[in-house]
């Protein structure tokens, strides 16, 4: 029993160390990417198109809906406490600091995290990774780094996009309940929005982007030789990303408010 526990702990520790090694190798290769990896640019562009551009619509719909929902709930609840003026503060804090990066990260995990893990897993099973090695392309430089950069850049841009549409959704509801000119709405928002709010959201977007891309690529490469391992890699990528995103969210929030 104790021996089995010891073995399990040793395997877990070894996997964890391997994961950290993978992460630092990705960071190291990222520094060299723009200097030497012209052949990886196409992979990078494709990744940004898939993760960023193609997720714009779903992100916009979600942001508008969430912004509207926050406004509906706030405008019915806050007046009961005589705190209607807090509506803009709540909007800014909830959307830019919390839900913007968090929900965007969940969308990217569900779309791109699974896609990356299963695509890389399929490439492993079909010996395509070995073929890259054979022609002199390092899989981390050529396959992982463009996906890493693509997901991080897309995550940041999509978070900004989510924030804009979230606040727009709120404006649409305001127009239905108590119409005000857009100038007044925007000036109310901007008077409350601080640099800290924006930086907080961007910091989370950066961290979440790193988490999703590294976990997905790591899980993709963890596929060994069987096609049945591929969906498992996709599921693990989603599960681990969700957990790590929430943990990272708490840590970044604690750092901001501590």
């Amino acid at each position: 029993m104790i021996a089995a526990l010891g073995r399990a702990a040793r395997v877990k520790t070894s996997n964890l160390m391997y994961g950290f090694g993978f992460f630092f190798e990705v960071l190291r290769e990222t520094l060299h990417f723009f200097r030497r990896s012209q052949v990886g640019y196409k992979v990078l562009i494709n990744q940004i198109l898939f993760t960023g551009y193609e997720a714009l619509a779903i992100n916009a719909i979600m942001a508008v809906s969430i912004g509207a929902a926050i406004n509906v709930i706030g405008s019915s609840l806050l007046p009961q406490f005589g705190q209607s003026q807090l509506m803009y503060t709540i909007l800014i804090i909830v959307i830019t600091r919390e839900l913007g990066p968090l929900l965007t990260a969940f969308v990217i995990t569900a779309r791109s995290g699974t896609a990356i893990a299963t695509e890389l897993g399929t490439m492993v099973v079909n010996h395509e990774i070995e073929a890259y090695l054979a022609v002199g392309l390092k899989p981390i430089s050529y396959l992982v780094v463009p996906r890493f950069i693509g997901v991080v850049v897309s995550m940041i841009v999509l978070t900004i996009y989510f924030n804009m549409f979230g606040l727009l959704g709120s404006f649409i509801v305001v127009q239905l309940v108590k119409p005000i000119p857009i100038n007044e709405y925007l000036s109310n928002l901007l008077s409350i929005l601080t640099v800290g709010d924006v930086l907080s959201g961007m910091a989370k977007a950066l961290v979440f982007g790193i988490v999703v891309s590294v976990v997905a690529t790591f899980q993709g490469f963890s596929v060994n030789r069987s096609s049945t391992e591929i969906p498992v890699a996709g599921i693990r990528a989603v599960g681990q990303s969700f957990i790590l995103i929430i943990v990272a969210d708490v840590l970044v929030t604690l750092m901001q408010y501590a």
């Binding site: 490439m123 079909n126 010996h127 090695l133 054979a134 022609v135 002199g136």
Partner: protein, 271 residues
């Protein structure tokens, strides 16, 4: 052991190789040297470990134990530049083609040129790829994806990808599997040309035809161990009768017209 085997630094040398997949040992105690400018064929049945041997020799699989040397240098100790130089000097034909599914045939074939000869323009690369594929008898479109091709056509594309950058060492894992006779003949012609140019060919095969036609050195791998390795004549004459059906077939075919090793009349030049 003949002088050729003891002579200069071999192109690729494996010593004390042990390789496993999980708890299953695939190679154990493998010591073998593949000589510069020569064609070495390793025969083995399915599951004997020949693909793992060829991939380990090419540095695509890291063994659990042992060393692989390229011209005397440990390939797993290469820095980035040395590794790139090794890859520029080598090509690999995969048993199952292993083409990149998400890109076109043209991109598959000229990728080694983009990596190792970036000074060539895209049109020159594309033309080189077209000429080579045409010589191999591939006459489908360049914009197709690998999934659009038959397995035989995929194999031809894989061979083109392995040799387009004119490597000095070519690893081939069952290069004529999945090919019809005509296509196999074209591949034989390419292999013959590579031999004539003095390139080092390291071939894993499960049929005796490749060995009969091209082997300067011939070995047999059985249950993950090199059972015998030597010049073609030594191996064919010296192998135990029960070792391999392929050896028995080669023995039955008798001597070859062009003995490979030691045949100084063959016009070879080293690349």
């Amino acid at each position: 052991m003949p002088d050729e085997i003891k002579s200069p630094v071999p192109a690729i040398e494996l010593t004390g190789i042990r390789a496993s997949s999980g708890t299953f040992e695939i190679l154990s105690g493998v010591d073998v040297a593949f000589h510069e400018g020569r064609t070495s064929v390793v025969l083995g049945t399915a599951g004997s470990g020949k693909s793992t041997l060829i991939k380990t020799a090419a540095g695509l699989i890291v063994p659990d134990e042992g060393r692989v040397r390229f011209r005397g240098q440990d390939i797993f100790g290469f820095n980035r530049n040395e590794e790139i130089a090794f890859r520029a000097a080598s090509g690999f034909v995969f048993q199952d083609a292993a083409l990149w599914a998400n890109t076109t045939i043209l991109n598959n074939v000229f990728m080694p040129l983009r990596v190792h000869k970036p000074w060539m323009g895209p049109s020159e690369m594309a033309e080189t790829a077209r000429v080579l594929l045409s010589r191999l008898g591939y006459d489908e479109g360049m914009a197709l994806r690998p999934a659009d091709l038959s397995t035989g056509e995929q194999k031809l594309v894989s061979i083109a990808r392995a040799i387009i950058h004119e490597p000095a060492v070519v690893f081939m894992d069952d290069p004529v599997s999945n090919l019809d006779e005509e296509a196999a003949d074209r591949v034989y012609a390419i292999i013959d040309e590579l031999r004539t140019q003095g390139r080092t060919l390291i071939i894993g095969a499960n049929n005796s035809e490749l060995a009969y036609r091209f082997a300067d050195y011939l070995g047999v791998i059985k249950s993950g161990r090199i059972a015998i390795f030597g010049t073609y004549d030594q191996t064919v004459a010296g192998a135990e009768e029960a070792l391999s059906a392929s050896i028995s077939r080669l023995r039955a075919r008798g001597g070859r017209k062009s003995a490979a090793v030691g045949n100084e009349t063959s016009q070879r030049s080293k690349p």
